[in-house]
Amino acid sequence: MTKTISRRSFLKITGGTTAGLSLAATLPDRFLLWAEEQGMLKATYTPTFCEICFWKCGVMAKTINGRVVKLEGNLAHAGSRGKLCGRGNGGAGLLYDPNRLKTPLINVGARGEGKYRKASWDEALNVVAEKMTKIKEKYGPESMALFTHGTPTDHFLPLIQAYGSQNVGMPSFAQCRGPRDVGLELTFGEGIGSPERVDLANSKVVVLLGSHLGENMHNSQVQDFCDGIARGAKLVVVDPRFSVAAGKAHTWLPIRPATDLALILAWINVIVSEGLYDKAYIDSYAVGFNELAAAVKEYTPDWAAVETDIPAGKIIETARLMAKNAPAVCVHPGRHATWHGDDVQRSRAIGILAALLGSWGREGGLYLATTASFPKGESKPFPTPARDALNLGPYPFAGGEGVTQVIRSATITGNPYPIKGWMVTGTNLMKAVPNQKETIEAIKKLDLLVVVDVMPFDTAMMADVILPECSYLERHDALAVGKGKSLTVSLRQPVVEPRFESKPGWWIAKELGKRLGLAEYFPWNTLEDKIKSQCAAWGVNYNELKQKGSLTVPNTSNPYITPLNQPTFKTKSGKIELASSELKEKGFDAVPRYTKHPQPPAGEFRLIYGRSAVHTFSRTTNNPELNELYSENEVWLNAKKAAELGISNGAKVRLENQDGAVSNAVRAKVTERIREDCVYLVHGFGTNSKELSRAFARGADDQGLITRFAVDPICGSTGMRVNFVRIKKEGLDA
C-alpha cells in the first residue's frame, strides 16, 4: 500500500477532509513514521497510564494522525520515571489486536460452547439487566457475585454494591498477595502496599525469596533493584531456579521447594541467639520478643539445613550478612505469595525478620507510606444486604477483596445460600483460580454469567453475554492515587476513540445501572465530569493533570523513622507484634511454626511457575508485539533428570499431575538452571479460546495442572505450588 501512494497524493488525501483522515488512520505505522520524519505529519503525545499490568505506569502515547505508533514512559510518573517495560512498550498490540472483542455477543449454544451472535448494546445490556433483576427477585441480590481485577473494579464494584451484593472475589487476594498482606498487617498493622514500599535502591543487602525481579517486571521496582545492585548492594536470592535475579546474586540459595519457612526461621534463630538484632528498635517498637525467642530455639541452622538442602554454614553466613548491614536490609515480602497454604505465617516470619533487623521505616529497608491523603468524597450509601456476605468464608483474616473459591463453592453447593449470577470484569478466572473443573461446574449452575473484557479469553468464551470493553488506550478510568513515598494522582484518559463497538467500563456500568434502577449511583454524565469534580474537591488542577498525566503532591514524603517522624502501628498492641495476639486469640500460632510439606515421590516433580518479563498473567499471550518475543512457554527440566528420562532440549512432552490432569504438548527446556525435584512453567499459556489466533493451544497451562490447592486457614488463600507432575514424552515432533 505504501508503495502506491506518492508523497503528493498522500498530502492530498490528508488535506483535512474526514475521508482523508480516516484513510490515514489505516495506513501502516512505517508509513506514518516516515511521513513524520519528512515533516509531513505532526506527532502528538497524550499522557495516560498503562493497564498491561497492575503497576499502572505513566505513559506518553505518541499518535500520528489518530494512530498510536509508540508508547513511552512518562517522566512525571513515579511508577515509570520515563521508562516502560517491554510489555508497556507493546501496549498498542492490545489496541490493534485483530482478535479483540468487537461487539456485544449473546450466547446461542450451550453454556461454554462458544457459539455467539452479535447483539446491539441495547439488547445485550437489557438481557443482562433482566436476568440480574430476576436473580434479585427470586434469590435476593446477594446471589449475584462479582469477580474483578484492575481498573474495571472502580466501575463494577459500586454497581454490584448498589445492586445489593457484597459478594466480591478478587483473585488478587486469595490467588496472589492476600497472605502477604495479612501477614504484614498482623505484624506491623499494615501491608506493604502496591507498588511495594521496598527501598531497594538504597539497600546494602537485598534478600529475594522466590521473587524473580527482572522476569517479574515491576517497572520502578526493577529500576530500584538495578540501582541498588549498581551501588553495591549484596544480593541473596532464594529460589529453586537460577532466575535472572539469581544470576546477579552474590549468594544463590537453591532451596528445596516448600521449605522457605524453615530457612527464615533459622535466620531468625541465628539473629536472636547471637544477639544480632536491633535491640533499641525492638525495645521501642515491638512486643513479644521473649515468646519469639523461645519459639525459634528449635529452628537451628543444622535443623534447617536438612529441611532446606542449604548448608548450615550458608544459613549462618547470610544471617550475619543481614545483621551486619542492618537496618539497610530489604527482605522482600514478595507479591504472589500463595504457595503452600501456610503463607500468612511465612509472610509473618519475613515481617519478624525485618523487624529484628530494624528495617521497617528505615532507609534501604521498607519505607513508610506517606500519611497524606485526598479527602473522601460523599456518595450515596449502598443498601445493607439482608444476608451477610459469604465471600470471606470461615477465614477470620480474609480481606475485603474476598475469597474467590469460597464464592465458587457456594455456587456449586448453594450453601449458605445460592449464588446464581456471576459478573466477571477484567479477570480470566479459568487461568487465575485453581481447579478449573470446579470453576466449570460452578458456571454450569449459574442463571447468568456476564463477562466484561477486551479480549475473548477463556472465561469470556463461557459467558452468556460478553460485553466488549475498550482497551486502556481508549478510555477514562478512575483517578489513580499513589501512596508510595509521596502522594500522587494520575489520570487515565483516551488516546484514541474506542475501536469497533467497544465501550469504556464506566459507560457499561452506568448503562447497566440505569437499567437496574440504580441511576442515582452514577450522578454524572461522563466519567470525565466526575473526575473533574473530584479534582476540584481535592485541590488538584485538572488541566495540569490532563497535560502532565501525573502530579505529585509536594511535601508529602516522610519515608524514614526520625525522632520527629515516629511510626504508628495499627496492631492491637500498637506495636510490632513479634508474637501475634490476634492470631493467638483465633487459635493460631502466635509465632510462626514450621510445617513440613510433602515432597514429590520418585519420578515426579513439584510444579512451580512464574513470570516472563514480556507477559502479564494470561492476558498478553495473544498481543502480537509480545507474542513475537515469547509465543509459548517451555517446561524447565533439570539437565541431569532430562538425561535420565531421555528427553532432549526442545523435545515435546506433556505433564501429567497426580490427579491425571494432562497438559498440552510443550517443549522441554533442558537446563542446569533448576533443581532436580521441580519443573517450572511460565504462567498464563495454553489458552483454550480459539478466538485468540496467536495464543490458542500454544504452550502448557500451569493452572490446568493445579487441581489441588492448600488453603491457608488464616485468610483462605490458595497455595498453588502443591501439585506434582510426571513427564510424558510425546512422539517424534512433526
Binding site: E72, G73, G86, G90, G214, V614
Partner: protein
C-alpha cells in the same frame, strides 16, 4: 564533531526486553526481524552457575566490514557522527553486508527489499533525544553519548570501568562497549 557510542553495563541488565520492543516500535521493524536482542548465556553445572545477559546490536564499527563489502555504496560510515548507516535507495538487497557483519546485526526487509539495521536512532539523536532502547532501559544498562565529550555518560562509564568489545580480534573497532562484572580496583 561528536563520536557517538554505546556502553552496555551488563551488571544492570535484567533481560526485560524493554529495549527490544521499544526499538521495534520506534523503527517499525518488520515482524520477525530485530535490530537488537538480549542474549542469555549460562555456564556451569547446577548449582555452580554463571549467567551473562548481553544486549547486542549494530556495533557502528570504525572499521566496518559491512561498508567495505557493500557493492553499491549504500552502506556508509557517517563522517559527522561516526554512525554506520544505510542509503536505502542505493541498496539492492544483495545481502553482502548481512554476510560480512560478524555480529549478525543486519536483516533484509523482505517487503521492501533493502538491508536494515540499528541506526543508533539517528532521527532521535538529531532531536537531542537518546536512542529509544536507551530511553526505556529499565536498568539503565544502556548508556549512549559522545566519546569526544569527557563529561558524557559514556566517557565517564568507560573511564571508571573495565570494558570490552565483542569479537575484538575481528578488528572491526566497535563503538559498542560492554562492562561485564567488575569496576576498576579502588
Amino acid at each position: 564533531m561528536p563520536k557517538y557510542a554505546m556502553v552496555i553495563d551488563q551488571r544492570r541488565c535484567v533481560a526485560c526486553m524493554a529495549c527490544v520492543v521499544a526499538c521495534k516500535k520506534e523503527n517499525d521493524v518488520p515482524l520477525g526481524d530485530f535490530r537488537t536482542r538480549v542474549v542469555e548465556k549460562t555456564e556451569g553445572t547446577f548449582p555452580q552457575l554463571r549467567m551473562e545477559l548481553r544486549s547486542e546490536l549494530c556495533n557502528h564499527c570504525d572499521n566496518p566490514p559491512c561498508v567495505y563489502n557493500c557493492p553499491t555504496g549504500a552502506s556508509y560510515k557517517n563522517k559527522d557522527n561516526g554512525m554506520v548507516l544505510l542509503k536505502k535507495y542505493r541498496c539492492v538487497g544483495c545481502k553482502s553486508c548481512v554476510a560480512a557483519c560478524p555480529y549478525d546485526a543486519r536483516y533484509i526487509n523482505e517487503e521492501k527489499g533493502f538491508a536494515d539495521k540499528c541506526t543508533f536512532c539517528e532521527h532521535r539523536v538529531k532531536e537531542g533525544k537518546e536512542p529509544a532502547c536507551v530511553a526505556t532501559c529499565i536498568g539503565k544498562s544502556r548508556i549512549f553519548g559522545d566519546l569526544e565529550d569527557p563529561k558524557s555518560a559514556v566517557s565517564i562509564a568507560l573511564r571508571e570501568n573495565h570494558s570490552e568489545v565483542l569479537l575484538a580480534s575481528a578488528g572491526t573497532k566497535p563503538r559498542v562497549f560492554y562492562i561485564k562484572k567488575y569496576g576498576k580496583p579502588e
